[in-house]
C-alpha cells in the first residue's frame, strides 16, 4: 500500500504484469474512489462550465461525458477533468484526487453565477471495470442494456442491486465502465463483480497497472505529463479545446488560439528506447549533446514488451523518427520518437 492523494492505495494485488495483461486480454477491476467529484447545478451551469473548461460543453446531451480541462489564463491546466451531463442543468466534474482542493479554490475564484458548486467527493465511490470482457461481466449484474451505452455515454441503473451511474469511460485504453456508487454500496458491488468476473479472467488491479495501462494508451497523467507550466496545445490536447464562437471566451483561450494557429514552441512526444534501459519520470532527455528536457512519464510497457516514455521536445525537432537519448544513472540510452498511442486496442 502507498499513500496517494490522501488515500492508502495498493500498487498491485497479484502482480503488476499479470494485472496489466488481464486488462488487455480479459478484465481488471480498479478501486478509484480517490477521484474527486464536483456537481455544478443551476440555470447558469452551462455558461459557467463554458467559461472554465476548454471543451465545448454545449455539445453534451444528458447522458454524455466529455474529456476536458480547466485552463488558466496562460493556457496551462489547473487539472484535466471529465464532464458528465447528469440532467439538463446539472453536471458532474470528475477531477484528480491530488487536485481536489486546488480545483475547488480555482473554480470558486472564477466566480460561478447562476449555479451552485458542490464538492461531492465524499458521497461517491468509484469502481473501474476495464478490459474486453467488461461488458459481458457487467451485463450479468445489471438490467441496463449495456450495448445501448456508447463510448463516453452513461446511464443510471442498478448494479448488483445498488444504485449506480454506469459510464463507458476509463483510463486504460480498453473498453470498460466506471461505476459511481454510494460509498456504503461499493464493497458489495466490488465483491459481486469479482465473483461474476472470475470465470472471465477478471482480476483486481492496482495503481501500478493503472499507470502502465494508461501510458501505453498515451493517456495523460496530471502532474507528470502536463501541469501548470505546459499549455494544452503543447501537451497534445488541442482536440479538447474548442474555439467555436458559440462556446465563447474561456480562460486561456487567446494563448491557446495563438499556439494552435502559429504552432507551439514545444510538443509532448512519445518515444521508445533503442537500447536496454527503462526511462522513468524526471530522467534527463538529450537531443545530440543538448540537455533539452526530462521524461514526464516512462515505464517498461508490459503488453508491448518495450520501454516507452513521454517527453517535451522543441517543436522543430519532435517529428516521428527523431533520435534522442535518455540519461539513466549517468549513461545515455538511445531512444526514438514514435507515433502515439503506443498501444491501440483492436476493434
Amino acid at each position: 500500500m502507498v499513500p496517494f492523494g490522501g488515500w492508502e492505495m495498493p500498487i498491485e494485488y497479484s502482480g503488476l504484469i499479470a494485472e496489466h495483461m488481464a486488462v488487455r486480454t480479459a478484465a481488471g477491476l480498479f478501486d478509484v474512489s480517490h477521484m474527486g467529484e464536483f456537481e455544478v447545478a443551476g440555470p447558469g451551469a452551462l455558461l459557467f462550465l463554458q467559461r472554465v473548461t476548454a471543451n465545448d460543453v454545449a455539445k453534451l446531451g444528458v447522458g454524455q461525458a466529455q474529456y476536458s480541462a480547466l485552463p488558466m489564463s496562460t493556457g496551462c491546466p489547473v487539472d484535466d477533468v471529465i464532464v458528465y451531463r447528469l440532467a439538463a442543468e446539472r453536471y458532474l466534474l470528475v477531477v484528480n484526487a491530488a487536485n481536489i482542493a486546488r480545483d475547488w479554490e480555482w473554480l470558486q475564484s472564477q466566480q460561478p453565477s447562476g449555479c451552485t458548486l458542490d464538492d461531492k467527493s465524499d458521497t461517491f465511490a468509484l469502481l473501474a471495470l476495464q478490459g474486453p470482457k467488461s461488458e459481458v461481466i457487467l451485463q450479468g449484474l445489471t438490467p441496463l442494456d449495456l450495448k445501448g451505452i456508447g463510448f463516453y455515454r452513461f446511464a443510471h441503473g442498478s448494479v448488483c442491486g445498488q444504485e449506480a451511474i454506469v459510464a463507458r469511460t476509463g483510463y486504460t485504453g480498453e473498453d470498460g465502465f466506471e461505476l459511481f456508487l454510494a460509498p456504503d454500496a461499493a464493497a458489495a458491488v466490488w465483491r459481486g463483480l469479482i465473483e461474476a468476473g472470475r470465470p472471465h479472467g477478471l482480476v483486481p488491479a492496482g495503481l501500478g497497472a493503472r499507470d502502465t495501462l494508461r501510458l501505453e494508451a498515451r493517456m495523460m497523467l496530471y502532474g507528470n505529463d502536463m501541469d501548470e507550466t505546459t499549455t494544452l496545445i503543447e501537451a497534445g490536447l488541442g482536440w479538447i479545446v474548442s474555439f467555436d464562437e458559440a462556446k465563447g471566451d474561456f480562460s486561456g483561450r487567446s494563448v491557446l488560439l495563438e499556439q494552435k494557429t502559429k504552432g507551439a514552441p514545444r510538443k509532448l512526444i512519445g518515444f521508445e528506447t533503442t537500447e536496454r534501459g527503462i526511462p522513468r519520470h524526471g530522467y534527463p532527455v538529450f537531443l545530440g549533446d543538448e540537455h533539452t528536457s526530462a521524461v514526464t512519464s516512462g515505464t517498461y510497457a508490459p503488453f508491448l514488451q518495450k520501454a516507452i516514455g513521454l517527453a517535451y521536445l522543441p517543436a522543430a525537432r519532435a517529428s516521428v523518427g527523431t533520435e534522442l537519448a535518455v540519461g539513466i544513472r549517468g549513461r545515455r540510452i538511445g531512444a526514438r520518437v514514435v507515433p502515439t498511442p503506443f498501444y491501440k486496442r483492436p476493434r
Binding site: 500498487i11 502482480g15 503488476l16 504484469i17 502502465t212 515505464t299 517498461y300 508490459p302
Partner: protein, 128 residues
C-alpha cells in the same frame, strides 16, 4: 526457504561461498518486494568490488533497486544470460538467477554476514 549454506546481507543479497569464490544474488524476499523484474544491469568481468559497493541495478516495472556486493573481491563470472531473462530473478532467485561470482579478497569475511536463521528473523521483522 533460505538455503542454509548461504550468507545474507541486510540489503537482501545472498552469498554462496565455494572455496575462494563467492556467488552472489538477491533473496526471495527482495524479489517479492520488487515485483515483476524486467531489467538487470550487471558489472564487467574483472571489476574489483569493495564490501557494500554498488555492482549493478535491478528494476521491476514499478521500482529501481541497486545491487550491493556482500563482500570484497574481483568479478570473475557474470550471469550474462540473465539480461535477456530478468524474470528468472522472480522464478529462481537463489539458484539460476545468480548474478556474479567474485574471487574473494578474504574468504573469512563471509563469517561476518548473516546466516540463514538470522536473515529469516530479519525478514520476519521487516514484513511486519
Amino acid at each position: 526457504m533460505y538455503p542454509q549454506g548461504y550468507r545474507y546481507t541486510k540489503d537482501h543479497e545472498w552469498l554462496a561461498v565455494e572455496g575462494d569464490r563467492g556467488r552472489v544474488g538477491i533473496t526471495d524476499y527482495a524479489q517479492k518486494q520488487l515485483g515483476d523484474v524486467v531489467f538487470v544491469e550487471l558489472p564487467e568481468l574483472g571489476r574489483k568490488l569493495a564490501t557494500g559497493e554498488r555492482f549493478g541495478t535491478v528494476e521491476s516495472v514499478k521500482a529501481v533497486s541497486e545491487l550491493y556486493s556482500p563482500i570484497a573481491g574481483e568479478v570473475v563470472e557474470v550471469n550474462t544470460p540473465l539480461a535477456d531473462k530478468p524474470e528468472m530473478i522472480n522464478q529462481d532467485p537463489h539458484g539460476a538467477a545468480w548474478m556474479i561470482v567474485v574471487k574473494l579478497a578474504d574468504p573469512a569475511l563471509a563469517g561476518s554476514l548473516l546466516d540463514a536463521a538470522a536473515y529469516e528473523a530479519l525478514v520476519a521483522t521487516e514484513a511486519k
